[in-house]
Symmetry: C2
Subunit: 84 residues, 2 copies
């Protein structure tokens, strides 16, 4: 079965998001003063060919912890969609 893992990797709330601050500053200069904060992370779509949803979730979790997220300073969330 094919599964699509929609993974979001974000900086922990306690960590200063320098890139987000820069974008917020740029938006302010463009006149978007109602934008209070901007936080930027990664959005990763992974197609996984496994036998069950549980297997796909286990693989998704492993690849986040081993490669896609730096678990010291980032959080990740996984949304799984059954494709066929």
């Amino acid at each position: 079965m094919a599964y699509k893992a929609k993974i979001r990797v974000t900086l922990r709330p306690s960590i200063l998001d320098v890139q987000g601050k820069a974008v917020q500053h740029a938006l302010d200069n463009l006149g978007y003063s109602t934008v209070d904060s901007v936080r930027i992370g990664k959005y990763i779509e992974v197609m996984i060919d496994e036998d069950s949803l549980d297997d796909a979730r286990r693989i998704g979790d492993e690849i986040c912890r081993k490669l896609l997220a730096n678990t010291v300073m980032e959080d990740y969330s996984i949304e799984l969609e059954t494709i066929k």
Copy 2:
């Protein structure tokens, strides 16, 4: 009212995702051969202080088209959450 715009910016499907290919190759080397494809984009959370959901959506759409997404080669989607 405060709204959280959860924005996903992804390369158009027709565009080769070189970064995604590199990650897929690394996952293959780590033994994750059931990973068929990887596509990497941006996940951006923007706090918007507007009077209505429609105003927040309009601002979200504008900042995507003007700054956050390169609409020539990227697609974007906006999910809005009412905070308070």
